[in-house]
């Protein structure tokens, strides 16, 4: 039987600060397969970002299991996790996180510095290809400070794409954008998914989540709902608003 891309069993996470333990995630059971476009939705403080960080190997769970393509990740050391981040996953952040002193091309090439198998002489070509895919070829020599918010986020998507990862995490990618730019960014993510990339979107906005094919709703660190039936989700959201 083929292994799932992501599988968690009773995953939990809690933070302790000066002896005070704050639980954030409780018993998350989750399966995500290749090619999916999943939105993790929930209000602020629900634990959705923490879940993304754990799934993206940026943070470690305090309980339960996380299997990536069937491999247990809890026993992996920091260097192995860094290698997984370099090769298997990539991130698009709400605040873009571009290097301000670098050009678009240099920003997109950045992940390739840490990629263990892509040879240095292929870096530029791959980066240009990714920039071209996001329609930013003419901007490739611009510094990030010379770009609009929407353009910055598309550069961030090109950067996420350049290593051809198994999985792209997008954390509130439209949070800092106007609606037109936000739509363009979501369209770009949809196109990536259509081309076979697995996308996990973290958002608190239903309109953004509706670009995905599956919505997992989290509340107080627990999965509240996991559905592909958007009408039901929308109804649930309205219910929550009340």
């Amino acid at each position: 039987m083929k292994d799932h891309l992501i599988q968690t069993r009773a995953l939990s996470k809690s933070y302790s600060n000066e002896g005070v333990v704050t639980p954030v995630l409780h018993g998350i059971d989750l399966v995500i397969d290749d090619g999916e476009f999943v939105a993790i939705m929930g209000p602020s403080g629900s634990g959705k970002s923490t879940l993304m960080h754990i799934l993206g190997f940026l943070d470690a769970p305090t309980g339960g299991e996380y299997l990536f393509r069937g491999s247990h990740t809890s026993s992996m050391d920091e260097d192995t996790l860094a290698k997984l981040r370099a090769q298997r996953v990539s991130f698009v952040f709400q605040a873009f996180n571009l290097l301000p002193r670098a050009t678009v091309l240099q920003n997109v090439m950045l992940p390739l510095l840490y990629h263990p198998t892509i040879p240095p002489n292929e870096r530029e070509q791959r980066a240009k290809k990714a920039i071209d895919r996001l329609g930013l070829t003419e901007r490739s020599s611009y510094f990030s400070s010379q770009l609009s918010g929407g353009q910055k986020q598309r550069v961030a998507i090109a950067r996420a794409l350049v290593t051809e990862p198994d999985l792209i995490f997008a954390d509130e990618p439209t949070g800092n954008l106007d609606s037109a730019s936000g739509n363009a960014v979501m369209k770009a993510l949809q196109e990536l998914n259509d081309a076979g990339h697995t996308v996990i979107l973290v958002t608190h906005e239903l309109t953004t989540a509706q670009h995905s094919k599956r919505i997992i709703r989290i509340r107080d660190g627990r999965i509240e709902d996991d559905a592909t039936d958007f009408q039901r989700i929308a109804a649930g959201s309205r219910e929550n608003l009340k």
């Binding site: 960080h53 981040r85 290097l99 002193r101």
Partner: protein, 409 residues
């Protein structure tokens, strides 16, 4: 990350904050520049001094008059007149010395009729010329018949010829010294200076003539050469003179002697010691400067790590390992100190060249020189300073939690 990636990343990071980088590396620049400059001056001075010493040749040795201590032993009281003609005869019998040449220095005006001046006037024997490696340009040197006959003849250096007989042939011309008239019989080749005395501005007379002119029954200096071992010759000479002067000095205390024996090698060693002392002093200053510069670098690197916390988080999210981050910040610190070191070397060389140009006007023997070893050591130490003071900030950067780093405002 490859080395070239690390270097590129360091250059990009440093050039983004040029003013800060320049100010940060100032301590290193000053330290390395001062090392380059001071050791360069040391090398130039050493060149000058060794040039002065080497004119005489390594086997050249000299006995000067000693004074003896104030209220010293009776045997050391003879003071100024301690070196005698009998001492010379006794010295000539030693097998470990050769070319024993007694010298009487005369302080007097010299005149050619038209020109007048005060060149150094030396009464000596023919051996003196070979001791000092002085060679004849024209005419003849002093010989034994000049001494035996107390002839009023003189051998002159080229500067004396130029001063007293400008444009003319000095041979056969007359020089007036202390009321006596001397015929110039020989002109020496230019020899330069030794121990900052111009050998070319000298008039040599037969010793017997000098003795009768001054009425001096003691010698100013005795020049000789050792026959193989300077220390053995020196020991022999000291033992002989102490015996002759009735000096009890088994501990070889220079203060008890009424004479001083010096060799070229000794002078070279003395200058070597001075040069070593100078180098040690400069090294200390450089070390202090590098430590101060290093603290500045550590401070700035800590600020940089804090400022770039989000970037560190991003790089980790993109797959950078802790050692990638460590090396990146270490490379920046080393690039900073190494660049400072290189700028320091260039500045030091420029200043050393300017100083050699300036000093060369008054001291022509002073040439531009650098101490290559000191420069290499200074650059290596500068790079090491970057490593030493950059490691803690780099370690902090490498240990940052990526999630917290990404959230850092």
């Amino acid at each position: 990350m490859r080395t070239s990636d690390l270097l590129h990343s360091a250059v990009v990071a440093l050039s983004a904050n040029r003013a800060r980088a320049a100010l940060t590396m100032l301590g290193i620049v000053i330290g390395v520049a001062s090392v380059t400059l001071m050791t360069g001056i040391g090398a130039s001075m050493e060149g000058v001094i060794l040039g002065q010493v080497s004119v005489l040749g390594p086997d050249s040795m000299v006995i000067f008059l000693g004074k003896g201590p104030e209220g010293g032993t009776p045997q050391a009281r003879s003071g100024f007149d301690s070196l005698t003609f009998e001492d010379v005869e006794a010295l000539q019998k030693l097998t470990t010395v050769t070319g024993v040449a007694p010298v009487i220095l005369i302080t007097s005006k010299v005149s050619s009729g038209r020109e007048e001046g005060e060149p150094q006037v030396i009464g000596t024997t023919p051996l003196y010329f070979s001791d000092l490696k002085l060679t004849l340009a024209r005419g003849r040197l002093l010989d034994d018949t000049d001494l035996a006959g107390a002839k009023n003849v003189a051998v002159i250096g080229p500067d004396v010829a130029a001063d007293f007989f400008p444009g003319g042939d000095p041979l056969g011309r007359k020089l007036q010294i202390m009321g006596r008239s001397f015929t110039v019989v020989g002109l020496l080749e230019a020899a330069g200076s030794a121990f900052f005395t111009n050998l070319d501005e000298r008039v040599y007379l037969p010793l017997s003539v000098a003795k009768s002119m001054t009425g001096q029954n003691y010698l100013s200096v005795i020049s000789f050469r050792h026959t193989g071992d300077a220390e053995l010759s020196m020991a022999d000479v000291k033992a002989l003179l102490r015996q002759r002067h009735r000096i009890q000095n088994p501990a070889d205390d220079a203060d008890l002697d009424d004479f001083i024996v010096r060799s070229s090698d000794q002078a070279r060693e003395l200058f070597g010691t001075v040069s070593f002392g100078l180098t040690a002093f400069i090294t200390l200053i450089a070390a202090i400067s590098l430590v101060v510069g290093g603290i500045g670098i550590m401070n700035i690197m800590l600020v940089t790590v804090t400022e770039r916390t989000r970037e560190i988080g991003l790089r980790k999210a993109l797959g950078a390992t802790p050692s990638d981050i460590l090396l990146q910040f270490l490379a920046e610190a080393v690039a900073l100190t190494l660049t400072g070191g290189c700028i320091g070397v260039v500045l030091g060389i420029v200043f050393a060249a300017l100083i050699s140009l300036g000093v060369g006007i008054v001291l022509p023997e002073y040439g531009f020189a650098l101490n290559g070893v000191a420069i290499v050591v200074a650059i290596v130490m500068a790079a090491f300073t970057g490593l030493l003071f950059g490691i803690e900030p780099a370690r902090r950067a490498s240990r940052l939690n990526p999630v917290e780093a990404l959230r850092y405002e």
